[in-house]
Amino acid sequence: MIVSNAVRYPTYVPATVAEALEQKAGVANLLPIAGGTEVMVMFNEGLLAPCPVQSLHRLAPEWGGIREAEGSLVIGALATYTDVRHHPVVRERYPLLVEAARVTGALQIQNRGTLVGNIVNGSPAADTVPALFAYGAQVRLLSTRGERTVAVTDFYTGYRKTVLRADELISEIVIPPPADGARHYYRKVGTRAAQAISKVVVAGVRGRDSVRLAWGSVGPTTLRTPKTEAAIASGADADEAVATLATEMSPLDDIRSTRDYRLAVSQNLLREFLKRTSPGG
């Protein structure tokens, strides 16, 4: 494809959140750009239909940081993977996020790409989303009409479909603290060692009497497997858990992998999860 013609993408650069929200409400089809690691690839490939774009970079003072509020972790819309990897609180308490950030793209992508940018498009292969599912994260949406907060598990309504409205921007992701003593497990299986879209990705948190498992690239959206979680929580052994998983997961064939492979590997990873997080282990 031919390089797109930049003239056809008028650019807005808001200096404040208020201005950003006004533009988002007033300009039709306005496309936000955070790190640009998705948008610019589409642009270069000629796959981005001409539209006005909104660069969020000047909002960094308001939206750039990672902080703690009322015991929860708050990740601003412009926080990058690198920020996530290096933040002491994230490193101490949210190992799944550190791991997800570590296996996303490579350093260049991690320096530019944002966590929020990763969740917006509803790609079932987005690598941080299973971690956010496993931690029960909340997504904060702003517009000139006000603010609302949605559980990340309710954010997606179908393949690449979300509840985000045309006039809304995401301001931050809020993540409650994991239970004390919980065990965390994250694994990405890609087509090569780095810079690869996942074939299967799983994130799991196991507390004393609770289990949360989230899977990427095995369905139309990132998904949890509640029956398997319940089975494990009520003491099922590995064979039972694996059998249950097969009843509630039906991955597809695509260019990156096959249904059979995805199911088999998901089952293998579930066994590994159980071994690694077993209370006695």
């Binding site: 031919i2 797109s4 090569r192 690869a196 260019i255 059979d260 293998n268 990873l269």
Partner: protein, 691 residues
């Protein structure tokens, strides 16, 4: 005159063009922006076969900046990427807009996109041949029978094919990125001028691997448009076009039935090789297996048959050791399976059956370096991650080609050497410089090697791994001739006979007199002395480039992911000029072989015939993290003559060695490339030994 071993001058200096390349100062064809340049772009059919249903060429022509739009509605396309027209414009953005405005719509007709649909087993043998095969297998102590498959791989050159042509009426300047500087003179034909009126600048080439010979459709369009608009014209392929229509290594389906005696000696059997060759022939197929001259092995009494399956895909082109990696993957896999059946160690099996004594020695070197004694019996491991070791070997014939060179010695003491051959990343600049510096005993900083222009003396294209072998002695001859002329000047000054003047390490001597290089050069009456030299076909001796490679891998039995930990690559290297460039060739060959083994794969949509992955997102190349420690070993023997071919043999055995290592680790064999996690898990599953 035979100069073979005279070019021995092993050094470890970095490439002479390294700084130019890392600093972006090396100008490739795509970096050329002559004034008033226009841009051309080929339009291509996206599906396996069909025609253009509709197009709005007028709307495309109306886009500001567009000079010309041609769309051929009558053309019947036969593969994805088939040229159906072109756009020429003042800038690239206008081309994009014009392509959109043209609103091309297509009628796709049915296309052959799945080789296996056309494959119905090995071809029939006549009764006698069949009897011979049955007999030999019948008296074998062990027989292996199976079908191996290899994928279609594209060359994936970092710099896509492309050309800039500036036509001046009766002459033209051409900036190309060809593997053959002199094949770019074919531009004369579309330009309608004499070959001698074409000036080719082909100095920097971003990879070729066999795909960049001749002027190509892109060069032809650039020539035609430059001629028509009397302005320079650039046509560069984009990555999609590069995958679709700039060459590929044919796929293969290989049926092998081989038998061996109790002692491990291969007795014979049969090999049936089918090449998956796309729309036209070429690219080597798997034909080399049948050529006795190139035998890796003493295969005893065997029947060899071969045929082709045509898909609606572009024509293959020669690709780094055409036909070899696919053939060696299958054959070395089959030999490993025989060894396993007979309970013979794979290294020993090769000692019994390799013809080449050189390779016997290399097996010992490689086994020691990889730590072959750590190899556990095949299938004996039970952990989640299992380690395996594998070996494979190959050879490459030596070609001897004519090559010319020219050397100047300047009054200032500077030396310049010109050879028209190209540097496609292999290090020809460095080779020419180092050979000349060594020959004169001068510091490298005084010598400038120049390559890649049609105004320099002619030499071979970069095919068959022959450029270094030809350019090194040609350079030596030219430099010696220039030195002889300078010696005459010194002799005259000293009133001696030239024969009585000696020279070594930058100093002339005669009787008690000595004269340092720069002072001797200052004696010249003119600005410089120029002399030429050449090598002739068949002049520089022969031999083969034997090699063996060993692989150590780890296989994760939970995901099927293979991590190559180490490759030891032992290669007959002949005369070594620059150690860095030769080791770099070996490592590059291994990386490309590993990428072929585990990742690369052209995927065609079985319904539309379109290529589904004409990019680098889903056409996966090995990335830096996938690349293991590579240990290149240069095997040099007393009596080796000339610079040996290395570029091609380096990539041949890698996939086979990795395949054998995987089988050793997991006790199950993947007989199909690429050896993806899906295939590894499936192999484990069939074996019934999953986790």
């Amino acid at each position: 005159m035979k100069v073979d071993n005279d070019v021995a001058l092993e050094n470890r200096l970095s490439r002479v063009d390294a700084l130019l390349k890392v600093a972006g100062a090396a100008k490739y064809a795509s970096d050329q922006y002559p004034a008033k340049m226009i841009y051309g772009k080929l339009l291509r059919f996206p599906y396996g076969a069909g025609t253009v249903k509709s197009a709005d060429a007028d709307a495309a022509r109306a886009v500001p900046g567009v000079l010309e739009v041609e769309i051929d509605l009558a053309e019947t396309a036969k593969y994805p990427g088939w040229v159906i027209g072109h756009i020429v414009a003042e800038n690239r953005a206008a081309i994009g807009d014009a392509e959109e405005a043209a609103a091309l719509a297509f009628d796709a007709t049915s296309a052959a996109s799945v080789a296996d649909r056309q494959y119905d087993g090995a071809g029939a043998l006549d009764a006698e041949a069949k009897q011979r095969v049955d007999d030999v297998l019948g008296r074998s102590a062990a027989v292996v029978e199976g079908t191996w498959r290899t994928q279609v791989q594209t060359h994936s050159c970092l710099e896509t094919h492309g050309t800039v042509v500036d036509f001046h009426g009766d002459s033209a300047d051409v900036w190309g990125n060809s593997q053959s500087t002199f094949s770019m003179l074919d531009m004369a034909e579309p330009l309608g001028i004499d070959r001698s009126a074409v000036r080719v600048d082909n100095e920097f080439v971003g990879g070729g691997f066999g795909s960049k010979f001749g002027i190509g459709a892109e060069g032809r369009l650039a020539a035609q448009m430059s001629k028509k608009y009397k302005r320079p014209c650039k046509v560069m392929l984009d990555r999609r076009e590069e995958h679709l229509d700039a060459g590929n290594r044919p796929g293969s389906i290989q049926y092998i039935a081989l038998g061996a005696g109790e002692d491990g000696r291969i007795l014979g059997g049969r090999i049936d090789g089918v090449s998956i060759v796309g729309f036209g022939r070429g690219g080597g197929g798997v034909t080399n297996l049948g050529d006795k001259r190139f035998d890796n092995y003493d295969l005893g009494a065997y029947e060899f048959t071969q045929s082709e399956i045509n898909l609606n895909f572009s024509k293959p082109r020669a690709f780094r050791a055409p036909g070899w990696p696919q053939a060696v993957f299958a054959l070395e896999g089959a030999v490993d399976e025989l060894a396993e059946k007979l309970g013979i160690d794979p290294v020993e099996m090769r000692r019994i059956n390799y013809r080449s004594a050189r390779r016997h020695k290399q097996l010992g070197i490689g086994a020691e370096l990889i730590g072959w004694n750590r190899r556990a019996p095949t299938g004996s491991q039970t952990g989640r991650v299992r380690t395996g070791f594998g070996v494979a070997g190959a050879m490459w014939p030596v070609w001897n080609t004519e090559c010319g060179a020219e050397a100047d010695i300047h009054r200032t003491g500077q030396v310049e050497v010109r050879v028209g051959v190209q540097d496609i990343g292999t290090g020809t600049f460095t080779l020419v410089t180092d050979v000349a510096a060594h020959e004169l005993g001068l510091d490298r900083s005084l010598v400038r090697g120049k390559v890649g222009r049609s105004s320099y003396p002619q030499g071979p294209g970069s095919g068959g791994s022959q450029v270094s072998r030809a350019a090194a002695p040609a350079t030596t001859h030219a430099v010696r001739a220039a030195l002889a002329d300078l010696t005459k000047i010194v002799a005259k000054e000293w009133k001696m006979k030239p024969e009585d003047v000696g020279y070594s390490g930058g100093v002339f001597t005669g009787g008690a007199k000595t004269l340092e290089w720069r002072k001797a050069c200052a004696l010249m009456s003119g600005d410089k002395i120029t002399a030429s030299g050449r090598t002739e076909t068949g002049q520089e001796g022969d031999g083969t480039s034997d090699c063996v490679q060993f692989a150590e891998v780890e296989v994760d039995t939970e995901t099927g992911i293979v991590r190559v930990k180490r490759i030891v690559a032992v290669h007959a290297a002949g005369v070594i000029v620059n150690r860095i460039t030769i080791e770099n060739q070996i490592c590059g060959g291994v990386v490309q072989g590993l990428s072929y083994a585990l990742f690369e794969n052209v995927r065609l949509d079985p319904n539309t015939g379109a290529m589904v992955n004409p990019e680098f997102i889903n056409y996966k190349l090995a990335g830096p993290v996938d690349i293991p420690e590579i240990v290149p070993v240069l095997d040099v023997e007393e009596g080796d003559t000339g610079v040996r071919p290395i570029g091609e043999p380096a990539t041949i055995p890698t996939a086979a060695a990795i395949g054998n290592a995987i089988a050793n680790a997991i006790g199950a064999r993947v007989r199909e490339l690429p050896m993806t996690p899906e295939r590894v898990l499936a192999a484990l599953d069939t074996k019934g030994a999953g986790t």
